[in-house]
Structures are given as structure tokens and as C-alpha cells.
């Protein structure tokens, strides 16, 4: 792969990775597009681009978590941040507390470690992990949903949302209110109107 390095690569490489010399106004701008970065990263041998890089994530309460890059990029948000070059020191996640972040990392680790679920044993192991993962109290579950949404982790979002959906399925409105401690703020007329409009579904 080293033979593919030509002067153009070295020129770009020097701008990005060597100490920043004073740059004249005429020098080319340092704005690489995401695809450009991804493209020439893939061309570089691993000695330059370390694949076992760790990323530091900082939760809202200041706690830091060091994770492998492969685990961190399960989150599309973090993946884009890395590609855009924002991951030099640590990635701040102001919407996620340390408690939730540690759970999310645990989930991502498990899903990265498990090979492509082709074997039945691995698939069932993952399924039981997922089932146990969501056995938490409601507020943790909701925080996990919001975190998965913010971090853009589709599988975790689907898992947690499906769990909540299963808690809603088949219940009457009153039961839903009780399950989630929701206040009924309808006036009797409004409530009757909604009930009447949708009565066809419950006959």
C-alpha cells in the first residue's frame, strides 16, 4: 500500500498530521469532506492509521469513558464526529449521564463483539442479552431511548422502543395512564369526543 503514496498524499498528510506551521493566506484550505477523509483513510496502511484507536467519551456529569473506536462508531453521531475531526481530545455528550452512557457502552460492546449472528448460538446469546438489558426501571428505559436517539444507535433505539411499545400494547387508556403515571388532562367533553371518533376500532 505504501507504493500508492504519491506526492499528493504526502502533501495532504503533512497538512493534517505534522505540527501546524504558520500558514499563509494562499495555502489550500484544510476542509476535507467526509468522503475524502474516509477514502484516503482506507488507502493508508494501518501503521499510520491505527485501527485499535480508543475514543474518550465524556458524559454530562464529567465522567470519562475510554472505548475502542469500533465500539464507539456503533453510534452514528459519534462516527460523524470522528470523521469530522472533532475527536481529538474527548467527545462531550452533554445529553447523556454517566449511568446511561455506561449502559450504552455495554450494549455496543456486546453487539460489536458478537460475530455476525450467523450461528444460532450467537444469535440466541445476543437475544437473551438484549432481553436482560431492558429489564430496568422505567426512568432508565426512557433515558436509554433518548440517549439512543441522540447518539443515533438504531438497534438500541429499536430494542428500547419496542420494549416500551410492548408495555403499551393491548392496554386501555386508563391502564396506560397508570403504567406511566400520566395525568388525564381532558375535560369530560374532550374525552367523550375522542372516544366517539375512534369508537370504530374498539367495537
Amino acid at each position: 500500500m505504501l507504493k500508492n503514496l504519491n506526492s499528493k498524499h504526502i502533501q495532504r498528510f503533512s497538512y493534517k498530521y505534522l505540527p501546524q506551521f504558520p500558514i499563509s493566506p494562499n495555502s489550500p484550505k484544510l476542509g476535507f469532506s467526509r468522503s475524502q477523509i474516509a477514502n484516503y483513510r482506507s488507502n493508508f496502511p494501518t501503521t499510520i492509521m491505527s485501527s485499535s484507536k480508543t475514543i474518550v467519551l465524556r458524559s454530562s456529569d464529567g465522567e470519562t469513558f475510554e472505548v475502542d473506536e469500533a465500539v464507539a462508531v456503533e453510534s452514528q453521531t459519534i462516527k460523524h464526529m470522528i470523521e469530522d475531526g472533532c475527536a481529538d481530545t474527548s467527545i462531550p455528550l452533554p445529553n447523556v449521564t454517566s449511568k446511561i452512557l455506561s449502559k450504552v457502552i455495554e450494549y455496543c460492546k456486546k453487539h460489536v463483539e458478537t460475530p455476525n449472528a450467523d450461528e444460532k448460538v450467537a444469535e440466541e446469546d445476543l437475544k437473551s442479552f438484549d432481553a436482560d438489558f431492558v429489564k430496568v426501571d422505567q426512568s432508565t428505559l426512557f433515558d436509554l431511548i433518548l440517549a439512543a436517539n441522540y447518539l443515533n444507535i438504531k438497534s438500541l433505539l429499536d430494542l428500547t422502543c419496542q420494549t416500551v411499545a410492548d408495555m403499551i400494547k393491548g392496554k386501555t387508556p386508563e391502564e396506560i395512564r397508570k403504567t406511566f403515571n400520566i395525568k388525564n388532562d381532558f375535560t369530560p367533553e374532550e374525552e367523550e369526543e375522542v372516544r366517539r371518533e375512534n369508537a370504530w376500532a374498539f367495537e
Binding site: 433518548l146 403499551i168 386501555t172 395512564r177 403515571n181 400520566i182 381532558f186 371518533e197 375512534n198
Partner: protein, 424 residues
Amino acid sequence: MGDDLLCDGTVCSQDYVFSPIKIGAWTDWCSMDDYKDMGFESFDDCLNLNLNLSLNLNLDLNGEWKDDVINKLPSDPFEMNVSGGCTMIRGWVQEVDEDIGYVQFSEKIIGDEISLDDANGFFLFDEISKKVGSLIKKDGDEVEVEVGEPHDALFLALGHLGIRDLLSVERVCKSFRDGVRHDPLLWRNISIDQPVGESFTDDSLLRITNRANGSLQSLSLVKCLKITDMGLKHVFQQNRGLMKLNVVGCNGLSMEGLLNNIKASGGGSIKQLRIGGLHSITMEQFQELNKLLSLNNKNKPGSPKPRFFHGGQLYLSFDDNRPIDIEACPKCHQLRQVYDCPAASCGGKHNNCRACTFCIPRCTSCGCCFNERDYIETFCLDLLCLDCLTRFLRFPDCEDEDISVGGFRQRQRQQASYHFCLYG
């Protein structure tokens, strides 16, 4: 005076329980020898033990105490609507306390096990579920739980619900109602299935489809008898991007109406249509439909995957790539739903064993033909090949749809009795 020894496990172990001895029998000092064996350390211990026994409390080590007593006591003899037994015990022992004077009911014993942090010690013990809740004495006697607005995360989960649950959620509170009504993403794929479809009118259809704000992509109306061509016309007009339509069992619709609707929306964008073979369709109409659909399906490759008959499936799902679910039967040339054969013996001869169920009867469970195998006819007039029958008989309690044959037509799980007639 050794108050807490009453409940002390070392003194009152189960070995020492025997018939009550009167407290006042100090004349029996001579029989103190009997007591020696029990290891009493003092007269006080003996007294306490007697008290213990006369109260008929079977005080074991802390663990089994409450179970035993609760089982023996009546739950609500004074009709005070107290759900548990422990309040009774406490009240009762407190009476004893007044009588005797030095029996102190140690709160700690019960408190340790149940770990309540309620200072006044008033608690309810639910016999059935063994759950303990603390009564917070406020002005009312009710436990107060915080209620409020739904959490934001709940709105993200709404996308995983079906129509019926979405409508239930709409009735919960105002924010849910607004969230459900004004989110077009939730209403992109609408599926009205059997038990619900019977009272589904054009108005409801319009109201529901309007929620998609014109972005409706797939509409499935199964056995919605009250839907008319006019209603469907409005849906087409307002949702130009409609790609998949299923109207199996909607007898209020006509083929001309359907054709007109598809044509009127400029050939539209319908890519998949399911009409289920219940409408009487002429060959010309069918060919016109095919033309319209193939116009919209330019990019789709040919050769769809084989389709097998299954009694529980009333209509072809949208997962199958076929534009339309009916075709001309190779044998009778009528426009019907045509099935392939999953049997290994017919596998190679793909063309021979393709026909509608009138021409080639099929097993309702696996869909194979009966050319080279025996079959039986069930009580519901379904046909079962012997392999499926053996499977069914071996696991009669299995709720799997493949095996529960009775009532395919009504999609109910009935345990029908079987009338065995061997044919073939």
C-alpha cells in the same frame, strides 16, 4: 424486666413450645426441675416463656414468625376493610400490652424484615402478593403517586404500535392526542384488519388518512365492508404517493371504481395491488390493471418467488414483489390466486403444479398438492395431508398457526373436533 426477650430467638425457639402453663402456678416450684432441662437462665425467662405460650404465639427465629401468625388469624373479622393481617396483630398485641403491662411488641422484628422507613409503624401486608406498601398518612388515606406529563421517550416508541394501540394512546392525555394526530410519520402505513374493519366507514377512513398529510404510502383494508368507491377516491386524491393498496374482502368496492381511481390519479404511483380474487373481474379490466401497474414497476425484475398456499393467509402480503395477487390460472384460465407447490416431487416441474385451488386442491397447512399422497378432510372442510395431520396430532396444544387448523376462515383458534374420512 426482659421485655425484649419475648421476641428473642434464643429463648423462644420452637423446641420450647408446649401447652400453656398458668402464670400463677408458683406453687409448682418443686417441678422446677422440669424447667431445668430447657436451659432457662432465670425465673424471668420462664415467666416470659409462659407468657409467650399463653399468647399462643409461635415465635420462631425471626423469619417464619409472620407467616404462621398471619395464616392463623382471620383477615377482617370486624369488617374494617383492612387488607392485611399485620395491622390486626399489632392492634391485638397492643391490647395485651395494656392488660399485662410489660409485654412490649418490638417493632424492630417486623421492621427488620420488611425494612420500612415509615416511622409510625403502620403498614399493610398483602397476604396474596406478599408485597408490603407503606401507608403515608396524609389528610386522605391514599398513597399519593406523582402523575404528570408523558415522558418524551414515549413519543419515540409510538412508531412501534399498531392502529388500535395508537388510538388507545390518543385517549390518554392531551399531549398524546396531539402527538398522535399531528405526526404524519405514524400514519404512513395504515393497516385495518379484520375484527376492526367491520365498522370502518368512509369518514373514519378519511380522518385517519388525513393524518398522513398526503404522505400515505401503503393502505391495507381487509374486510372493510362499508368502504365505498367514493371514499377511496378521496384517499387517492389527497395522497398522490400511495404505492401499495390492499382491498381484500371490501365488497363495497367495484372493479370499475377501482380502475377509475387508479387512472384518475394520473396512472398514479400504485406499485402493488391486492384484491384477493373476491371481486368479479373481467379479462379486459385485468389487462388494463396490469398495464397500469407495470408502468409503475419499471425497475422491478421479473420472476417473483414461488407462492404457497396457506390456510391462515387470506391475502398475499406486500412483502412479495408481485404487482397483483391474481392471475390467469394455467388450467382453468379463470382469474384467481394461483399457487406453486412446495412438495419436492413437484419442485422441478414448476409449471405442472401451478394452479388455483379449485383446479388443484391443496393442504391448508403446508400447501402441497395431493397427487402422490393421501389426505383427510377436516370438520371445517379444510384438507390436510397426512404429514401435517401427524404433526398436528402429536402436538395438539401447540398454538402455532401452521398446526391449528380449525377456523382458518375466521382466524380464530378453535379446537374443532375432527371428522376423519380418508380419501385418495
